[in-house]
Symmetry: C2
Subunit: 473 residues, 2 copies
């Protein structure tokens, strides 16, 4: 644990070494997070412009025993970016918002190098400008920064085809907890020269160092893309449709998202302007699917063929295939506004679980049954079902507020995570641990892995200054 606070005395001693506008009081935007569950301590924010400045700041904090909370776009959902009162002395918030350069693009190599503060949408555009695809895509792409996305190994809607953020990174530049700089911005597909420090930093949520830049993989853009919404028989049919689609289209399926009637009902209640694929009719279970095909194959035809086969097998009963880019955007708008609708309704408990693909239907059935025994709740179960990842959110009955069910929250959280664990799954598929799920990690984590994590943390950050209080207690 850091021994000292980033108070005005500390900031004053540092200020002389850095440009005038480096430090400022952290305004409210640095102290809150999307779900409103954590409130940060008042304190100072540093906004460096270069890797060398980040290194000098970290060195100064290390020397003084002052904690650091690395700050990206602030979109994390588990409080990894927020240090609340009581955990430790007030840390310095180190925001990467001024390090936003796309340092280089190598279209022939399918590589792009971006600084940690670059916003995901900017990176997507830079790739698009050279006729390439950077496939990471998620609802917060207009504000999430690549440093944070890497630190949390973000997921999103294209993991099925292109992998997690981890899989999209070739190299990193990182300021280590002692202020040294690891210059690992390789553009290599193969590099077997020692331990995999890159993947250790990715997903460490800022507790082992600060990512300042990354070398990212680009991809050829599929020659043609298509989007459809399938109405499926039940949750089990999602897996059957996935198998069928994989058999027909191989790895061309880039997104495979489950949606439930409850999500559409919530949209109608809270965001009535969002256009829904079947109008006022809200089918119980739906799959939103994207395909990207090589030259010579027609997406419309491929999706029609898939529907015909799925209908024959009793998997799907209806489908709409997007006929225009506008319709495609509409379909995706539904999926992407479900989290906002959920927020407006107000969940008793939200979950980001994953289970082995084959266990998905059992998971949904067992959890529904267990929750029904706790009380009468509404469930919105949706998400990246192609990856075995469900956002399983529990809501109060119609007309009641989440505040009436605070006692049940803990009970529900526990039973959902217990069932996921029992089926070989996990309590955090893509959101990470942060501060919200530390107790879950301690409860469900493998003891040998936890011991190794502790040993690694103590070895790389012996003073405990990096994001103190996150991930590990």
């Amino acid at each position: 644990m850091p021994r000292d606070a980033a108070d005005s005395t500390f900031i004053d001693t540092l200020a002389a070494q850095f440009p005038d506008d480096m430090f400022g009081p952290a305004d409210q935007s640095y102290l809150e997070e999307p779900r409103g569950r954590f409130q940060g301590m008042r304190g100072f924010v540093a906004r460096p412009r270069t890797t060398e400045e980040v290194a000098a700041l970290v060195k100064a904090c290390s020397d003084a025993g002052v904690g650091i909370v690395p700050y990206g776009g602030g979109t994390g959902l588990v409080g990894g970016q927020i240090a609340p009162e009581g955990e430790a002395e007030a840390p310095l918030i180190l925001s990467l918002e001024r390090m936003t350069a796309i340092r280089a693009v190598y279209p022939q190599e399918n590589v792009l190098i971006a600084e940690a503060g670059a916003i995901l949408a900017t990176i997507q555009s830079a790739a698009s400008d050279v006729d390439r695809l950077f496939p990471l895509s998620l609802a917060s792409e207009g504000s999430a920064r690549i440093g944070g996305l890497l630190s949390t190994n973000a997921g999103g809607v294209n993991v099925l085809r292109y992998g997690n953020t981890r899989d999209l990174c070739l190299g990193l530049e990182v300021v280590m907890p002692d202020g040294s700089i690891w210059k690992g911005l390789k553009r290599l597909r193969k590099d077997n020269t020692g331990y995999d420090l890159r993947n250790l930093m990715i997903g460490a949520e800022g507790t082992l160092g600060i990512i300042t830049a990354a070398s990212l993989k680009l991809f050829p853009r599929p020659a043609a893309t298509g989007t459809a919404v399938f109405v499926i028989r039940d949750a089990e049919a999602a897996l059957e449709l996935l198998s069928l689609a994989k058999a027909q289209l191989g790895e061309s399926i880039s997104a495979f998202e489950l949606m439930h009637r409850t999500g559409l009902d919530f949209l109608s209640q809270t965001l009535p302007d969002i256009r829904k694929p079947f109008g006022d009719h809200h089918p119980e279970w739906m799959i939103l699917m994207d395909v990207g095909l090589p030259k010579g194959l027609d997406p419309q035809e491929a999706l029609e063929d898939l529907f015909v086969a799925a209908e024959e097998d009793g998997i799907a009963s209806d489908a709409v295939i997007a006929q225009s880019e506008g319709q495609r955007t509409d379909f995706w708008s539904v999926r992407e506004h479900i989290p906002e609708a959920n927020r407006r309704i107000g969940a008793v408990s939200s979950h980001d679980v994953s289970v082995p693909l084959g266990e998905l239907p059992h998971f949904i059935a067992r959890v529904r049954q267990a929750i029904a025994q706790v009380g009468e709740f509404r469930i919105n179960c949706f998400g990246h079902v192609g990856d075995g990842n469900l956002h399983f959110n529990v809501f109060p009955p119609e007309g009641r507020s989440r505040d009436e069910f605070l006692d049940e929250t803990k009970q529900i959280k526990r039973l959902v995570h217990d069932i996921a664990q029992d089926l070989g799954g996990t309590f955090s598929a893509e959101h990470g641990v942060g501060r919200a799920k530390k107790a879950d990690l301690a409860r469900y984590g493998d003891p040998a892995k936890l011991a190794a994590m502790r040993a690694i943390k103590d070895a790389l950050d012996p003073k405990g200054i990096m994001n103190p209080g996150a991930v590990l207690s």
Copy 2:
């Protein structure tokens, strides 16, 4: 460093706790490696049958301060599996050869769980039996074991499409250096619950623990596959052909291997029965390409289209497309026998470098020029050019022996690695560090990364018993 030897006194004290046939003297097969550069110390081998036995062995070695060399198929090329005299006290060789079970196959999930001693070809067959593909493929697949392939993050010919061994692994079971068992055999595509211990163990070459089982990714088999050999203009044209092929076929290219006339010449001299694609004519530069296409596309047609475009652009002047499985096997047999032909000729220096894709032609030109200044050598430059990975091997002039050039070996090795480093590349793309490249790691490794590696090694293996002398000194 371990403080004690695995001598007969130590083995005798252990023997009572384990089955009768657990220990034996290590015969010559455990003490030599394919390139004949390292000779192991005489000593004992342990052959456990279960993870619990591995854990008990490691615990006993940890308690006694005895080193352990984990042993898979013995096919590694950098001496990672061989402890020579003089490095440390004689370690216990711990062979995984009896832990060969395929524990489970989940076709619907595209997952297979194998024990560390399972041979790669066996895993490929088990996948094939359920109409799936396990894409890891390399020359030694008939004897390499998955534990060793994971520990060295092996590459091979399908990395371009499917990634390194690292990318094919979902979870691990590992015996840690204190004898505890990390039960991490998840079947999840997404699991953001703490540090990435999986990727830290993968590629650690047995210095951080012993992999006892792995959960592996399977893939749908492409609906149709095709193979061709293109005669290309020069080394630069390899990149142009790759760009063209990616533009036409997206991610359907699964292998893209460079071959040079020298390789065919060596085959004619040493293995004359291998059938070559253009008979006695040996073109200077060739690309061997595999494509795997979804339903609806014809590989023959796709490869023909590609050749027509490549010829028009002055990239390729000739091509043969395999007309049968037999011809496909013949093409690949050429590629896969080049290493054996090299061995029979006897290299002055062998390299496994990678450079950023765009730098490949510069690398080849600069190294050729630099070597010409050292003397008159033959160069066989071949390999996984689609990944930026070249096996760049230097041979004595015709009629002379490698033994006459021992003085030049060091000089050539140094200049090849210096040029790779200068271009942003690496001295080990897929073979690892082992014992052969420790000095290179110390020389070329990033200091901050080396310091982190050292700290991690000391934290996880404080007694230094795991593969002592490998990777780090």
